[in-house]
Structures are given as C-alpha cells and as structure tokens.
C-alpha cells in the first residue's frame, strides 16, 4: 500500500537508473509512442511554427496582390480561400498551439515535476492537433479550401450559398481541433492541481503558469460554444437543418453569438500565456522581482473572466438593441483595466530594475509598445459609434494584427530566445538576434500601422483588389513593403535557430541567471527532469540567497528520488503538501492510433461515406478501451 520516499542526493548510479526508467527507446515505436512532455512540447512548437510559415506565405501572396490597384495575380475565388486559410491558420493552428508547446515543455520543469498529469493525453492532444491541421490543409489538395472567412458568418456559409466541401472542411476541421484543445486544457489544470513541487503554494506560481491556467479554464467554458456552432453548421449543410436559416425558423445571428461567445475568450486564450511569458522574463532581464506580482496574477485571472462578457462588441453593426450594445461597450472598456495593470507592472519593473538589453528583452520591450498601440485601437473600437464607422474596414485588420502579432508573436519569439537554450543546450546568436528584432519590429510597424489609415480612408477588408483613384494605393504599397521586411525578420529568426543548433555556444543550466525552477536542471534537461524532486520555499527558488524574501528556503539538491519506476510526487491542490506517489504511464501507441482513428471518422463525415465514419468510430472506441484497460497491478498495491 505504501512506499517510502527518503530524501536522497543526486549520484551517478541514480542518474543511470532514472534514465533507464524514463528515456523513450529509439526507433519507430519511440517516435510514435513517446509520452515525454519535452518531446511533445517541441513537436507542438515545430508544428505550430510550420503552420505559421504556411499562414505567412498565404499573407505574402495576398500582399503581392494588394500592392497596387487593379492587380489580377489572384482570382477572387483564390483570394477568398487565401484570406480564410490565413485567418484559420494563424488563429487556430498557430497562436494557441505554439503556447501549448511552451506550456508543455516548460510546465513540469517550472513546477518541479517529472511530467504532466496525463502524459498519454498529452501525446493524444498533440496528434489530434497535427491531424486536424493536416485535415484542414488537405482541402487545398482538392482545391476546396474554406473560403468564407475565419469567422464564417451565416447565411453565407449555408449550403445554398456555399456549395462544395469548402466550409465542411472548416466545420469538421475545427470540431476535430476542439477535441485536442480541450484535452490539453484538462491536462494543464490537473497538472497544476496535483503535480507541483511541495511548498509551491499558489502565491509562488510563476505568472506564466497563471496565464496558461486561466487560459485552460477559459477553454473548458468557451470551446463548447464553437463545438456547438460547428456541429450546427455541418448539420445545416449536410442534412438540411435550419439552425442559421431564417426561412426555416432559424437565425443567422445565432452563429455570430455562438462564434463570438467562443471567439472573444479565445483572444485572451492566445494572449494570456504570452503575457505570462513576458511577466516572468522581464524580471530576469531587469534583475529584480516583478513589481506587483499579486496584482498581475489577479489581472490575468480577471481578464480571463471578463473576456466572457464582451463578445457582442464584434456585433455592434448587426442591429442589436442599443441597451445591449451599450452594456457590451462598457464591459469592453472595463477589460482594459487589468491589461493596464499588467503594463504598469512591467514598466515599473523596468524602471526599478537594471535592464540587461539582450535579445529576449528587446522583444519584450517591443511587445509592450505594440500591446499599447493595439490596446488603444481596441478601446477605440469598443466605442459603438466609432466601431459602426470602421467595422469591416482595414482599421479592424490593423487592430487585430497589433494585438495578435504584438501580444502573441513577439512574446513567442522572445520565448524562443529565452528557452531554446534550455531545450537545445545552446545559445542563439546575439548579433543576429538584434537584426532579427529590428527587422521584425520596424517591418511590422511599417506594414501594419498604415492599415489604420487605409481603414480610416474607407478601405473594406477582404476585397481582392481595388480600383485606382481612391487614394488607397500608397498606403497599400507601404503595407506590402513592411510586410515583406517583417517576413525577412522571421527568416532571420529561422537562420539564427539553425545556427544555434549547429554551433551555438553551450548554454549551461542557467545562462540568464533566472529565478525559476526550470533553470535548476541541466540544458537540455534529462528525460526524468529532476534527479531528486525539489521542494519550494519561495517565489524565486534560484534567487533566495540574494533576495531575503523570508526565512523559508527551497531544497533542490536533496529530495525523494522515486526511482522504482516512472514515478513523481502528487500534492494536495491548495497547500502543496505531498499526498501520494503518482505512477506515470509508459510510452504507448494508443494516443497515436486513437487520433488516427478519429481522422478516419472525420474523413468519413466529410465525404458522407458513413461506413468509413462508423468504422472510424468503432476504432476510436476500441482504442479507448484498450488504452484504459489496466495493465498488471503495481506490486505495491
């Protein structure tokens, strides 16, 4: 019934023993069956980045078309598919999965654990993400990519107005992806509840953890709205149902409500973890703790909650009653308060610190500037009269790119410069990093700031070309030049990563002299993360000897070794007292096979080959039962 866990110290034989227990075997089984959160995290990062490059390519082609008036490089039909896929890719296949990648890799290291709570679910969530992305992209192979925009307003998406498979790929692909995101969110929450190091009470959590935690809860409540909407869309299109069809008693605005009840929380889902990355990184480079930790943590959570009360600001131009639009306008302005709290906390941290101007800090500083610009244009569009004037113009395009590129892409690149040395054991090139930052920062502003002006001049979004003589030519030319400079910046980043992997100088365990737990292990970390499991006495375990934050001290060099199998420590959720030893699963092919079976199901639904869909469903069931069927009982039981 019980095992003893006496404190041990790291020794070479212990290291060998743990490696044998935790390392994934090489070969095909290891590739498809690994449940190591670090491998899964890296896969998430690489896959999401690849989708980002695909989405960037789509944008590059569109910018070529819009560089001058009356261009005919693309047909209107192709242009529709490109802008739809650009949005779907960046919003669904890049912005959220890339943060899941960082969270997957960093969470157990930051929390002082050996893996996530459900390692196999973690593998499943990756395979589902990969397959749903490939499912959506396979639409290009039959020339029928989604073409009604990434928020797919009814009735334009209904069967009568959108023949072909275009929007079936959309509805089913997103449905597929929601499974992955939901599974991932559950995994993060349970990991936080049960797998922290002893002593890591909630007032000692890094803000990045707060960000992903808030996001994961938001996913649980928001994602089902998209699920419901996509199911209804598929039913309308395939079975002649009438959810969004006014003639049959449905209502097109039902789609908009369901989509934005999901969609606006989603905006915070793709920025809160990124803001968390910044809140943990800025202190490292300012050589002091974050100013106002408690306020930033509370701001993170309250943003996540308020994010559920603002969806109607996407619908100001739909003729809703004034009372309703006024309420949501006020709510949208209130949500700026927690954002401002975070901004002032970062500024105060920089002001009171001694900033070290390395590449991650440059990206962090650039992020703050872009966040403020995107925030100001956000408040502007929260005002109903202003929004009615500018809705569906390039002003909105400018706003959403400042927000998403500013608060997602810049922190993500900063995150790579910061944590890639942990993942690969090698530093990136500092000089190339500076070039990388300035081309991306200047290119972005050159490209996207003029879009505000194009919007104010009345240029609508989603037009495939425009006539000369409207005064839109110059701003569009400048935008295209800026977009290409930005793209060069992204290429410089890739060059830097390749250079670093081949000849970057060794990083050592803690190249930035950072305070959090992931820097306490080697770079790259061994398969088992920590040889002995640490216990935590403060918010900055690696800065304790200089901060004097209290008498409690973290213990990193002695602790339970748990070397009788894949084991880690379980704690009580609130007090972080050790409560059990968790037996972690071995590598397994079930997650891969289950995801593959679901892919078969979705192709069956897409093509109306019901036998295929049912066969896939039966396989899903078989894989689930096989997965959950208990192996031999652990001897201790």
């Amino acid at each position: 019934m019980a095992a003893t866990a006496p404190p041990a110290a790291p020794t070479p034989p212990l290291h060998e023993r743990l490696l044998r227990i935790w390392e994934t075997p090489p070969g095909l089984f290891g590739i498809l069956g690994t449940v190591d959160h670090k491998k899964i995290g890296k896969r998430y990062l690489v896959t999401a980045f690849a989708f980002m490059l695909a989405g960037g390519l789509e944008a590059a082609v569109m910018r070529a078309q819009l560089t001058a008036p009356n261009q005919r490089l693309l047909s209107p039909e192709t242009y529709n598919q490109l802008f739809s896929m650009h949005g779907i890719t960046m919003i669904f296949l890049y912005a959220s999965p890339i943060l899941s990648g960082f969270s997957n890799y960093i969470w157990p290291l930051m929390l002082g654990s050996r893996d996530m709570a459900f390692p196999r679910l973690n593998a499943l969530s990756y395979w589902l993400f990969l397959f749903s992305g490939l499912f959506i992209y396979s639409s290009f192979l039959v020339g029928q990519a989604p073409d009604r925009g990434w928020f797919a307003y009814a009735p334009l998406t209904e069967g009568a107005f959108s023949p072909g498979l275009h929007m079936d790929f959309y509805a089913l692909g997103l449905l597929f992806l929601t499974v992955s995101t939901t599974v991932g969110a559950i995994n993060f929450i349970v990991t936080l509840f049960k797998l922290r190091a002893p002593g890591m009470s909630i007032n000692r959590l890094p803000i990045f953890i707060w960000g992903t935690l808030t996001t994961s809860f938001a996913v649980l409540f928001a994602m089902p709205s998209l699920t419901a909407a996509c199911i209804m869309l598929y039913f309308d299109r395939r079975f002649g149902m009438h959810f969004f069809d006014a003639a049959g008693g449905g209502h097109p605005l039902l789609w908009q409500h369901l989509f934005w009840i999901f969609g606006h929380p989603w905006v915070y889902i793709v920025v809160l973890p990124a803001m968390g990355i910044m809140s943990d990184m800025i202190p490292t480079f300012c050589r002091r703790p974050l100013v106002g930790y408690t306020f930033v943590a509370l701001a993170t959570v309250s943003t996540g909650i308020l994010g559920f009360g603002v969806w109607v600001h996407h619908m100001f131009a739909t003729g809703l009653p004034d009372l309703s639009t006024d309420f949501f306008s006020a709510a949208s302005m209130v949500i700026t308060i927690p954002s401002a709290v975070a901004v002032f906390a970062w500024l105060a941290t920089i002001w009171h610190g001694r900033p070290v101007l390395r590449t991650p800090f440059l990206f962090a500083a650039g992020f703050i500037v872009l966040f403020v610009i995107g925030g100001v244009s956000g408040v502007a569009t929260a005002a109903v009269p202003f929004d009615r004037q500018l809705t569906d113009t390039y002003f909105v395009v400018a706003h959403l790119h400042y927000v998403l590129v500013g608060i997602n892409v810049f922190p993500v690149i900063a995150g790579f410069y910061y944590w890639l040395p942990k993942m690969t054991g090698r530093m990136l090139n500092e000089r190339l990093g500076r070039w990388n930052f300035w081309t991306m920062f200047l290119g972005f502003n050159l490209g996207f700031f003029p879009m505000h002006i194009a919007g104010l001049l009345g240029m609508p979004r989603r037009i495939y070309t425009y006539p000369a003589g409207l005064g839109w030519g110059t701003v569009n030319l400048v935008t295209s030049i800026g977009a290409y400079v930005f793209a060069v910046g992204v290429v410089l980043f890739l060059v830097n990563v390749l250079w670093s992997i081949r000849r970057g100088p060794p990083a050592g365990p803690n190249p930035w002299d950072a305070p959090t737990l992931e820097w306490a292990t080697t770079s790259p970390p061994p398969a088992y993360n920590f040889e002995v499991l640490p216990s935590i006495g403060s918010r900055h375990p690696l800065w304790e000897d200089r901060l004097a934050e209290g008498a409690a001290r973290s213990v990193l060099d002695r602790g339970p070794a748990l070397d009788e199998g894949r084991e880690t420590l379980g704690i009580t959720p609130l007090d972080a007292e050790p409560s059990e030893i968790l037996t972690m699963p071995e590598d397994s092919l079930y997650p891969f096979l289950l995801a593959l079976s679901l892919l078969v199901t979705f192709y069956g639904l897409l093509t109306s080959v019901w036998a295929l869909a049912i066969a896939g469903g039966v396989l899903v069931l078989a894989m689930t039962v096989g997965w959950l069927w208990p192996g031999p009982e652990p001897e201790a039981a």
Binding site: A2, A5, I189, V190, F221, T227, L254, E567, S579, I581
Partner: protein, 198 residues
C-alpha cells in the same frame, strides 16, 4: 519543512476523490455541461426570435418522456447503490447495481427511439425540429457513451478488478452517469416543461 514531510510513507497512486483521474473526469463534465448550456441557449434564442408559435406544433407530449425521466433517475439511484457498495468492498452489490443501471439505461434509449418514431416532424422540417432532435440526440449519444463505459466497468467488476481502495474507474463512471442524468433534467425542463409554463 517540506523535505521532512516527504520522508514519511506515502500511498502509491491516488484513489477515489482527489486523484488525478477524478479531477480529469470533473473537468470533462464541466466542459460537457457547457456544451449543453450552449445548445439550450440556442433553443431559447431561436424560440425568442420565432415569429409563430413556439414550439410550432405545441409542447412535446409527456406520455413517454415523463416515465422515461423516472427510469433515468432510478438508474442513477442504482449506480449510487453500486458505487457505495464497492466502497465497502461489497462486490455483489457492485456487480448487480451496475447491471441494473445498464438495463435501465438501455430501456431509456429504447423508449426514446419509440418517442422519435411517433414524431410528426424531422430534423429538416424547421429550426424547432433541428433543435429538438439535435439536443435530445446529443443527450442520447451521451447516454450511449455512458452505457459503453458502464458495460466495460461491469466486465471489470466481474473480473474482480475493484476493491475497497481501488475503484477509481467506478467512481468516474458513476460521476459521468449522474451528470448525464442531470443534463436530462435540464433538457426535459427546457424542451418539455418550459413551453407549458411560458
């Protein structure tokens, strides 16, 4: 101090309430419940926007649905009886209780199929038909998934997999089954009862 705390003897693997698997099931229920909230929101939204009568052909009949509700509630009781049995190590109570739950769940689905066959409209008739069949169908699908879970757990109960301490799978399936029943009460109240009061 935490290091001394972990030196004491700890159980291997959590059991029952508070285990990682238990939390996983709770969170799955949270997100599934949200899905039904959005489906019922859609029902009331389209109802409030309807130009004619809502529901178009009057409130659905209670003749089959009301007894069916009682059957589902009884199955929850049987599940509770089975689970509290295994907590005391009563293997017989666990096995019999699970079989009764399984039987009542199957009867529920059969009666729902009969009720479907009596309907004068289809999912493609109008928005109400789409809503009625989608919402009750989704609930039915959850019942079916719950029944498969119960079937697997019943099999494992007969194989003697569970003990007083180790029965997390029973606890989780039981949680899910009570959730499916609670959802039915929400669906029943919204679709069958609310048109009679408004």
């Amino acid at each position: 101090m935490a290091t001394t705390a972990v030196a004491r003897r700890l159980p291997v693997g959590g059991a029952g309430k508070g285990a990682t698997g238990w939390w996983g099931m709770i969170l799955l229920i949270v997100t599934e419940a949200s899905l039904f909230v959005y489906l019922l929101f859609s029902y009331f939204y389209l109802g409030s926007m309807a130009r004619g009568a809502w529901p178009p052909s009057g409130p659905p009949e209670l003749r089959l649905a009301l007894p069916n509700t009682v059957i589902l509630l009884l199955s929850s009781g049987a599940m509770w009886w089975a689970e509290s049995g295994v907590r005391r190590g009563a293997q017989g109570r666990l096995r019999v209780g699970l079989l009764i739950t399984l039987g009542l769940g199957i009867i529920f689905l059969a009666i729902q199929a009969v009720e479907y066959s009596h309907k004068h409209f289809t999912p493609a008739t109008d928005a109400y038909g789409s809503l009625f069949f989608t919402i009750t169908g989704f609930h039915g699908a959850h019942v079916a998934v719950g029944l498969i879970m119960i079937a697997v757990v019943t099999l494992r109960a007969w194989l003697g997999h569970f003990s007083e301490r180790r029965h997390l799978a029973v606890t989780n399936v039981s949680l899910y089954w009570h959730f499916v029943d609670a959802v039915w009460l929400a669906v029943f109240t919204s679709l069958y009862l609310s048109p009679r009061f408004v």
